[in-house]
Amino acid sequence: MFTQESTQATASKLIQAVPSALDEFRCPACSQVFATYDELRRHFDTVHPATIAPVTVALNLNGKNCEVLVEPHWTLKRTLQFRLGLTGAKHMCDKGVCGSCTVIVDGRAVLACTTLVLECEGKQIQTVEGIAADPKWKPLVDAYCKWDAMQCGYCTPGFLVSAKALLDKNPNPTEQECREALAGNICICGTYPRHSTAIVEAALKIAEGG
């Protein structure tokens, strides 16, 4: 059963499970594993000299510092899924048009599929898991579930992150302001009319202290 409590706990666990430091360095070209980054670099220089070597990036993710090994062209979306175990940001269009991969970086809603992870070094990244784990945002999650602001649910985390980014800036939005803020999120199941209802209700609850 998926309840508010159980999913909040799962989200917290997923955040806890993000490794703070790398304990192995796997070659992306041949999967050989090394104990240090320097060893991996030497391996690259000798075995894969024509390939661009992976790099390490320090991130602050949902309030937690962590380090990842990625290839320089990797997007934040890909890094979240394939290195950090966070799959709340979804891959739908992979072209920056659907909002399914929305995350918040330094307070702004950004599209993780078109953001290079290298650009995120030293920035504060918040994903849907971070919002789900924070009790402050329980009214928003509750309202989404109460109003069925989802059908298949694939786009929903992206909408929820956009909604949270809106409420950060405008804690008392009108329905029209909600629609404008969420116009960059595409729901193929057509759940649009639901979102502003949920957000406006959640905003009131949050203002009342949850």
């Binding site: 269009c93 072209k95 069925d148 985390p157 193929i188 649009y192």
Partner: protein, 781 residues
């Protein structure tokens, strides 16, 4: 028909069913991103796989040299169509009827000939680029009207049938060139047409419409030693919810050795086909000894929900507006191998005219094989040509200067047959409410300008609410530790069918919705789908029977435990002495508000968990009695829906604004209103998209589809969609739980907005009615 034979089908008081705002049983997982879809799975030490995809619309791979690709560091395996293991594969379901993968590509972008497995997707891409392929490029057809010409290149000349899969229809005459023929005839169309007081002719073009699955299809598979079954391995597989057993069987595995724990299927709009990326990973994982992931890109995911179709209609009718002859000629895209015959011949059976009194109907269809795209089964828009009838009603009304609603009423046959002249109560009730909802005041085409100078148009359509007729359900309920559990494999597709079932269980057992625990377990047989949206209500009918079987046992055990309580400490009597149920019979009891109580004195009783703590299981297999709709081959009517649309058309810019949609529907009985409303919104969103924005664009020269990405293929956004005003009626006339019917996809439409545009400007504009087409129709471009 109504739910007369089911237990409590005539229930009058509802405490749970019909309640708004009960969260879905998995909604918290979906909203928080905790839910994992097939594409989300990442397994340690995982490899990636990619298919070679054809750059040509129609071509053979005559040979391929793998040596350079094999030499690329990071490439782990390359499989081709010539490998015995590939030759042995058979599609899991609704797949191509050709070999599972061969050297022939009948569509640009389709999987062909080679699969590469490597350490990363980039290495797969690089290896695919390094393949040295000898292509034999054949001429192609991406315009169906050209495809039927005598000198058109023949696509797949070896094909004997069209419309692979379960809905194939027999051809009406031998195939010629690319064309297969299908025909259904009722009455004497030629005579009726000759005798008609009026005749009108019109054309429709239905553009192809993307199925546009939200989550790109794909899978991850790995093999593990089997901890319980001794010898051999088990296949662990994610990414093809509902098809676990079939995919296991493709790879020689029995269901008990095929594990798939994920329950989240994502959006599946009546598209039940598996993609090759969902079927291949077990083989690749076996060959490489490592987990393998294969996921389609967005560009790979632009399959059709609706094939392109051209229609030419001729309608004979009386001076009153009674339609007496229908001659329906259409040219439909046969798509590629494996396309469904929904959207083609199968539409004739499900035809758009079975609600009409007209007894003279000919449907002649030419299905043209093409190199356009694939449609896996059917869509939210199935049956696709229903709006050819909607247009007939509108045009007859326009010609006679009448209201289309009056023409629809005149033409709709009665509840029992085409010869039945009586009104259909559900339809009449929908119309009464619809006229009020929309403030309906029909005006002739091009006759109403709004204060801002734009033209106003309005349209109306109706349909049946389809009722479930076919599938049976294996239901199971358990009382465990005093709590009712409903085990199910799901799937979780967004239709909230599991929730409808849980609500019915709660209703029948006197519990709250939250009291019913849904156990998602891939091994459980219960799956509340089938027959489309009506699967929710039909499965809920079967689950209602099951709930009452459980209830009977609970009451029997409550008495047994009251008479012969187990010793204290082993579930014995509660503190305070013997059970208040002692001395009664099961038939004296009821379950109300979470308690087992005396029927005639609800204050006497025990909470369910105290009444008995036995482990009780009830099962039921069955389905609602077949709907009159199916028994009557579509010639009987009970539950109906009506939809309305208002538009404003700017004659200077050609821009169309849908001012509002209105829906008055009678689903018989509303089980879960929140999701029903949402599904109505969805079909209107689909309908607005396909009439104003969406179409596939092909390069005629190369046969390449030009807009298979979400930048170029536009879906409506939150700012584009019109408000949808909905009203539900409950005549209880359906055949599923409490007289409910399915509803949503019968409201999907291809021409309601376009008819409203005609009503605004007096000119036809084929969908999608983009501003350039509107201006052209107005002679301004």
């Amino acid at each position: 028909m109504a739910d007369i034979v089911g237990v409590n089908g005539q229930r009058e008081e509802f405490k749970v069913v019909g309640k708004h705002n009960l969260p879905g049983k998995v909604s918290y997982a979906l909203a928080t991103g905790v839910a994992k879809f097939g594409a989300d799975y990442v397994i340690p030490n995982m490899l990636h796989a990619k298919f070679l995809r054809s750059p040509y619309a129609n071509a053979y791979v005559r040979s391929v040299d793998l040596s350079k690709a094999q030499a690329l560091p990071g490439v782990v395996d390359i499989v081709t169509w010539e490998d015995e293991a590939i030759k042995a594969l058979k599609p899991a379901m609704f797949g191509p009827v050709r070999p599972w993968l061969d050297n022939y590509a009948d569509q640009e972008g389709i999987e062909v000939a080679v699969i590469v497995v490597a350490e990363s997707e980039e290495i797969c891409d690089e290896a695919l680029r390094l393949l040295e392929i000898d292509w034999e490029i054949l001429p192609h057809v991406v315009d169906i009207r050209k495809g039927k010409e005598d000198n058109a290149p023949i696509i797949r000349p070896e094909d004997k049938i069209f419309g692979g899969g379960m809905f194939s229809a027999p051809p009406a005459k031998p195939r010629q060139g690319n064309v297969t023929y299908a025909e259904t005839v009722q009455g004497d169309v030629d005579t009726a047409m000759a005798e008609a007081e009026n005749v009108l002719e019109y054309e429709l073009m239905l553009p192809a419409f993307s199925s546009h699955l939200p989550n790109p299809p794909g899978s991850v598979a790995w093999w593990q030693p089997n901890p319980y079954l001794g010898e051999g391995q088990i296949l662990h597989f994610e990414g093809a919810v509902q098809r676990r057993e079939q995919i296991g069987m493709m790879h020689g595995m029995t269901p008990d050795r095929t594990v798939q724990e994920g329950i989240f299927q994502g959006g599946k709009y009546c598209d039940w086909g598996m993609r090759r990326s969902q079927e291949i990973t077990p083989l690749l994982a076996k060959r490489t000894g490592r987990p393998v992931r294969c996921v389609n890109t967005r560009e790979d995911t632009f399959d059709f929900l609706m094939n392109q179709r051209y229609m030419y209609m001729k309608i004979g009718f009386t001076n009153e507006g009674l339609i007496t002859a229908i001659d329906d000629f259409s040219v439909a895209d046969g798509g590629i191998e494996g396309s469904s015959s929904f959207g083609a011949a199968n539409d004739q059976g499900y035809g758009p005219y079975y609600t009409m009194k007209c007894l003279n109907i000919r449907q002649w269809m030419e299905i043209v094989d093409s190199n356009r795209g694939k449609m896996y089964l059917s869509g939210q828009h199935c049956p696709f040509n229903w709006d050819s009838g909607t247009m007939a009603i509108y045009l007859v009304a326009e010609k006679l200067g009448k209201d289309p609603i009056d023409i629809a009423q005149l033409n709709l046959h009665g509840p029992d047959s085409q010869e039945d002249d009586r009104p259909v109560p559900s339809f009449e009730a929908c119309l009464d409410a619809g006229r009020k909802l929309m403030n309906w005041n029909h005006h002739p085409a091009g006759m109403k300008k709004m204060p801002d100078g734009r033209y106003h148009g309005a349209s109306f359509r109706y349909q049946i609410c389809p009722r479930h007729a076919f599938s049976g359900y294996n239901c199971k309920l358990e009382l465990r530790n005093g709590v009712v559990h409903m085990p199910t494999q799901g799937p979780v597709t967004g239709i909230f069918a599991v929730e409808c079932n849980a609500m019915v269980v709660a209703e029948e057992l006197g519990l709250t919705y939250d009291d019913v625990v849904v156990d998602f377990d891939y091994r459980e047989p219960f799956t509340p789908v089938g027959g489309g949206s009506d699967g929710s209500t039909a499965s809920a009918w079967a689950m209602k029977e099951c709930a009452n079987l459980l209830k009977k046992q609970i009451l029997e055990w409550a008495i047994e435990d009251a008479e012969n309580p187990p010793p204290a400490g082993f579930g014995g009597p509660p503190p305070g002495g013997p059970s208040p149920l002692k001395g009664y019979k099961p038939e004296d009891l009821d379950m109300i508000d979470g308690r087992v109580v005396l029927k005639n004195d609800h204050s006497v009783g025990l909470p369910l968990h105290q009444a008995t703590n036995r482990h009780i299981i009830a099962t039921y297999h069955g389905r609602p009695p077949a709907a009159i709709w199916s028994l009557g081959m579509g010639k009987m009517l009970d539950t109906m829906n009506t939809a309305y649309c208002e538009v404003a058309v700017d004659p200077d810019t050609g821009e169309v604004e849908v001012l509002r949609f209105g829906v008055v529907a009678d689903p018989g009985k509303v089980l879960r209103p929140t999701s029903l409303e949402s599904q109505i919104d969805q079909v209107m969103f689909f309908s607005q998209g396909c009439q104003l924005l969406e179409d596939f664009v092909y390069d005629e020269r190369t046969g390449v589809r030009l807009n298979n990405n979400m930048i170029d293929y536009k879906k409506p956004t939150m700012l584009d969609v019109a408000p949808v005003e909905r009203q539900f009626l409950e005549t209880r006339a359906g055949n599923a739980a409490y007289g409910a019917s399915g509803i949503s996809h019968s409201l999907a439409n291809t021409h309601m907005v376009v008819i409203a545009i005609h009503n605004a400007i007096g000119v036809w504009v084929d969908p999608p009615a983009t501003p350039d087409k509107i201006l052209k129709a107005l002679g301004k471009a």
